[in-house]
């Protein structure tokens, strides 16, 4: 991998190619439940283009970020509700 980006998903380090979206990194980390609905149901990306809000995760402590809209950055700490 040329110029990999190192970040963590739920505390686990992962390296991804530059330009990878956070949603992809979360999926590559093996996480299938990105968040929970109000009633506790599992949620994961649906539209992939920032409309459905299903892929929200916490990024660097900031909650409810749409992971499909945020490119990965070095040192990023991503928390999904896995």
């Amino acid at each position: 991998m040329i110029n990999p980006i190192d970040l963590s998903v739920n505390g686990v380090p992962i390296a991804v190619p530059a330009g990878t979206m956070v949603s992809t990194a979360v999926a590559l980390a093996g996480v299938t439940r990105f968040r929970r609905s109000v009633t506790g149901e599992a949620r994961a990306p649906l539209c992939g283009m920032g409309i459905c809000f299903e892929c929200r995760v916490s990024i660097n402590g900031r909650e409810h970020c749409r992971s499909c809209q945020v490119p990965c950055e070095n040192g990023m700490e991503v928390a999904a509700d896995a």
Partner: protein, 373 residues
């Protein structure tokens, strides 16, 4: 001509719904005419703050009586009414407002409303997301929060169970003491007619002193634990008092879902419901002055509604002087959710000649009040 009802109510907001429930419970036959969804007007644009307000002796009497009615029913509401006894914090920014906190506490103590003064440190502990160096607050622990549209729907459901009828999707075109004339030309005859159409009441009962006062609300995504009480700046009183200028005030509420409901704005003369970007910005800036961390949260929706404002800031509850069979139940301004239950009691008390729990005179239509500016 169709069946005649004892009571025909125009308006299926929380006030109309509460009146329907109370009248049906007293054994009266009731019909409610509502063109839109139940609780879809000002009811859906109210924060659902159940609060004792001390603007005037009559306002204290009405809000305190009504809050007592809410508290007594707290256990019976279904989960979607979201009754939470969150309490209010009246936040004081400086020494002048702390003096107001003390005055307010004495007023509440005199009428048996629990209230305690918090110093700056206690306030910071109670609500860590408020900005540092505020002067303190008055905590009113028995104030509550509800979800108004579901509260209205519940009350109307209770009325239906007791035989009331809802004419949904139909509009009242004309009201008189004899009944409601609908837009389609048909007539719903009744012994008593109640105008509970909020800010739209003057279009059905011309000449009454009710004006639209527009407000904005914003709701955020879910951030459980970010705020614990309904937070209101004491400067809110200045904002609510002003009868002319547009104003905003810091007013943030925790919802049961973990969402935050952010208000408030007040505007006279705005007739259209669209979001006013300038007012919205002012309102959110004000909220951030008190709670800087709000800036990092995600808002998911904003909307507006129209309060029904009267010059003396008291609602109109009771028969019209010119037509004793035509009742008004409107003019509740920003307190319609709180005072809905007491309004329903006072309407039913008057039409059934029962003795009311509080004097009705301050709220009677036709009382002397200064005209709007």
């Amino acid at each position: 001509m169709g069946k005649s009802y004892d009571v025909a109510i125009a308006g299926g907001g929380i006030v109309g719904a509460a009146c329907a429930e109370e009248c049906a419970a007293a054994g009266l036959s009731v019909v409610v005419v509502e063109p839109g969804p139940v609780g879809g007007g000002a009811t859906a644009a109210g924060m659902g703050h159940i609060v004792v307000m001390d603007d005037s002796p009559a306002q204290i009497a009405l809000t305190n009586y009504s809050r007592t009615l809410w508290m007594a029913r707290a256990h019976e509401f279904p989960a979607d009414v979201e009754y939470v006894s969150a309490g209010t914090l009246w936040v004081a920014a400086d020494a002048e407002e702390m003096a107001e906190v003390e005055r307010k506490r004495a007023v509440y103590e005199a009428i048996g409303v629990r209230a305690e003064v918090l110093g700056p440190r206690e306030l910071a502990e109670a609500e860590p997301n408020l900005r540092p160096s505020l002067a303190g607050a008055l905590r009113v622990p028995d104030d509550a929060v509800v979800y108004p549209p579901c509260a209205a729907r519940y009350m109307l459901q209770r009325a239906l169970e007791r035989g009331a009828v809802v004419r949904a999707g139909e509009s009242a075109a004309q009201l008189s003491g004899a009944g409601i004339k609908l837009r389609d030309g048909s007539f719903v005859p009744a012994g008593i007619v109640v105008n509970a159409t909020g800010a739209w009441a003057p279009s059905l009962t011309p000449g009454i002193e009710v004006r639209k006062r527009k407000g904005h609300l914003v709701i955020t995504d879910r951030y459980p634990g970010f705020v614990h009480h309904q937070l209101v700046e004491l400067g809110y009183l200045k904002s609510a008092h002003s009868m002319t200028a547009d104003s905003v005030a810091f007013n943030v509420q925790p919802r049961k879902t973990g969402q935050l409901l952010i208000g408030s704005s007040r505007q006279f003369g705005a007739e259209h419901g669209e979001i006013d970007a300038n007012m919205l910005t002012r309102m959110l800036r004000r909220a951030q002055e008190y709670m800087p961390a709000l800036a990092a949260l995600t808002a998911i929706r904003s909307w507006t509604g129209f309060r029904a404002a009267t010059p003396d800031k008291l609602p109109l509850i009771g028969p019209c002087p010119q037509d004793p069979r035509l009742y008004l139940a409107t003019g509740h301004e920003g307190l319609g959710i709180t005072t809905s239950l007491a309004t329903a009691k006072l309407v039913a008390d008057q039409l059934l000649h029962r003795t009311p729990a509080i004097p009705v005179e301050p709220y009677l239509p036709g009382r002397k009040q200064a005209e709007h500016d």
